[in-house]
């Protein structure tokens, strides 16, 4: 058997190597990679991004609607903005799992020994994930509209709300990226992250108005960043957001990015994979 039958001494393309890779090219390549990965696993992707938001919304609106607001129809008006967040936040965990997968499977070692702008390996997939978030949000929103949700803020309010949630998801994904770099196995990332997420999601004002809660719980729930962001989204989508609500929401996103983006990049660059 002759494996290398077509090679004689040199490869044509070696004679004209590109000078170097720009940071932009590196980022777009990693975006391309994430997109190809998605394309290769389309069925799982559709389940996650399209079907699961629909199911979540149906379960919560029909299960709790009667008890909390008297009817599904009335509840959906309160529930939908929060459900958008409830839909997207668990999806951000993938940023950490895929980063950890790269590190543990050894692709990381090749990337680390190549001369491109290294943070691109983290940033690229996070940007592509934005597409996933958008699809999930649109899927949840469409289901909401079918169930009778009416955004009082109109198209503009809705678009702003969606954009804000995507920005929030991007900022949260840095937290899980940090966990992804630290974890020894991808399974640990999803386990730990879900443990972290669910208390925050449920001890919030997504499902129930915090005004109905005992005082001390109300304080905790209102301080939960998820609640603050939900307030911002409700404000935007109903067209009644105050400046302070909007700036509180944006401040949380910026805070997450300022803290966790540098930590992730630093840990990634100083990580060494001892086999």
């Amino acid at each position: 058997m002759n494996v290398t039958k077509n090679v004689n001494g040199s490869l044509d393309f070696w004679n004209s190597p590109p000078k170097s890779t720009s940071a932009l090219k590196a980022i777009s390549t990693f975006m391309w990679r994430a997109a190809q990965n998605t394309k290769n696993n389309l069925a799982g992707y559709v389940m996650e991004a399209v079907l699961s938001p629909v199911i979540t919304l149906l379960i919560f609106s029909f299960l709790f609607g009667g008890a909390i607001a008297g009817s599904t129809h009335e509840y959906i008006q309160f529930l939908l903005p929060g459900i958008l967040i409830l839909t997207v936040v668990p999806l951000t965990v993938y940023s950490g799992t895929s980063l950890c997968l790269d590190i543990t499977k050894g692709v990381f070692n090749r990337f680390r020994t190549m001369p491109f702008w290294q943070p691109a390996a983290i940033l690229g997939p996070l940007i592509t994930d934005g597409i996933r978030y958008t699809i999930a949000l649109l899927s949840a929103l469409a289901t909401g509209l079918l169930l009778g949700f009416r955004p009082e803020g109109g198209v503009l309010g809705t678009v702003l709300a969606i954009l804000f949630i995507i920005f929030f998801a991007f900022s949260v994904s840095w937290i899980f990226s940090t966990i992804g770099v630290l974890a020894k196995r991808p399974e640990t990332v999803s386990g730990t992250s879900m443990m972290l997420i669910y208390p925050f999601l449920f001890a919030s004002n997504i499902l129930v108005d915090s005004a109905t809660m005992p005082k001390w719980i109300q304080i905790i729930v209102d301080l939960n960043p998820i609640s603050m962001v939900t307030v911002t989204v409700r404000g935007l989508i109903s067209g009644a957001a105050t400046i302070s609500e909007i700036s509180a929401g944006i401040a949380i996103c910026v805070l997450f990015i300022i803290i966790f983006a540098p930590i992730t990049v630093y840990l990634y660059l100083s990580k060494n994979n001892k086999a």
């Binding site: 290398t4 490869l11 393309f13 390549t29 696993n41 499977k105 050894g106 692709v107 090749r110 491109f116």
Partner: protein, 289 residues
């Protein structure tokens, strides 16, 4: 290391082979000491060093969720090639490494040997001055191993310098211009394969006879060739350390002439175990029997 040569780092598990590779390939900062590649410090000029090296690690550095072709395109694009060029390069490499039939299959479905070949292909998307191959054949079946060897010989034909680590003496022997033997992080021997083998000494000729004639064989060989004969656990098998293959030939002739019926024989290179015993333990010969 000299340009265009293959230098093998030989050592058992935990000897420090991978650590050396990781330090040289900028993945790991050395605690002390300096190393230079093409005159550049691997710590201070890490970025320049990265432009000239390529690492094929112990575990295939591939994205399992992508096809073989997509993996090579990814690397080509990261080197700065346009999409169109990247596709051409990926195709050419896929063909050269005999993976054409599997080019659109996801790597998760590749066999160990196919992964290795794809991994090495990914390492030469851009011509590296120096390529690190960290145990490229560990865990492969014999056929895949030979294919990987062929790929490595091709790299050498292309005038690439290769630093290879291996646990197998045979592999170093087949491929290397020079070998460094390390154990517990220290160099214990260095030289060309032949220098090393003669310093380690002996091959072992194992002979299986029809009848148990240990004493007679011992007598004949001691008289005619001044050789020692050791009996195996199996009373019909005898082991004779010889310095050259020719001597093994003579031994068999002598035995046949003396009407000893030989059922079979093998001539074995010293195993890595023996190499280490020989290098670390001067009383190796006596210790063996």
């Amino acid at each position: 290391m000299n340009k265009g040569e293959l230098h093998a780092l030989l050592g058992p598990n935990g000897a420090g082979k991978t650590t050396i590779i990781h330090m040289l390939s900028t993945l790991l900062k050395p605690d002390e000491g300096t190393a230079f590649i093409g005159g550049m410090d691997v710590v201070k000029n890490a970025k320049d060093v990265r432009k000239r090296i390529s690492l094929t690690g112990q575990f295939a550095a591939l994205d399992e969720g992508l096809s073989g072709l997509q993996n090579l395109m990814l690397i080509a694009k990261l080197h700065g090639y346009s999409n169109k060029q990247a596709r051409l390069i990926a195709h050419e490499l896929i063909q050269s490494f005999d993976l054409l039939d599997a080019k659109n299959r996801m790597v998760v479905n590749y066999s160990g040997g196919m992964r290795r070949r794809l991994d090495i292909a990914a390492s030469i998307v851009r011509q590296p001055d120096l390529i690190f191959l960290d145990e490229p054949t560990t865990g492969l079946d014999p056929q895949s191993r030979i294919q990987v060897w062929e790929v490595i010989r091709m790299l050498l034909k292309m005038n690439t310098t290769v630093l290879l680590t291996t646990q197998y003496l045979e592999e170093a022997d087949q491929l290397a211009d020079r070998i460094t033997v390390i154990d517990k992080g220290a160099i214990i021997a260095e030289g060309t394969p032949n220098q090393l083998k003669t310093s380690i000494g002996k091959k072992t000729l194992s002979i299986r006879t029809r009848h148990c004639e240990y004493k007679r064989i011992r007598g004949i060989l001691a008289r005619q060739h001044a050789l020692n004969v050791f009996q195996d656990e199996d009373p019909l098998v005898f082991r004779i350390p010889v310095t050259q293959s020719r001597l093994a030939n003579d031994v068999i002739h002598t035995l046949l002439k003396n009407d000893i019926s030989i059922e079979g024989f093998t001539l074995d290179e010293p195993s890595l175990d023996e190499v280490f015993l020989a290098l670390t333990d001067a009383t190796y010969g006596e210790a063996k029997k």
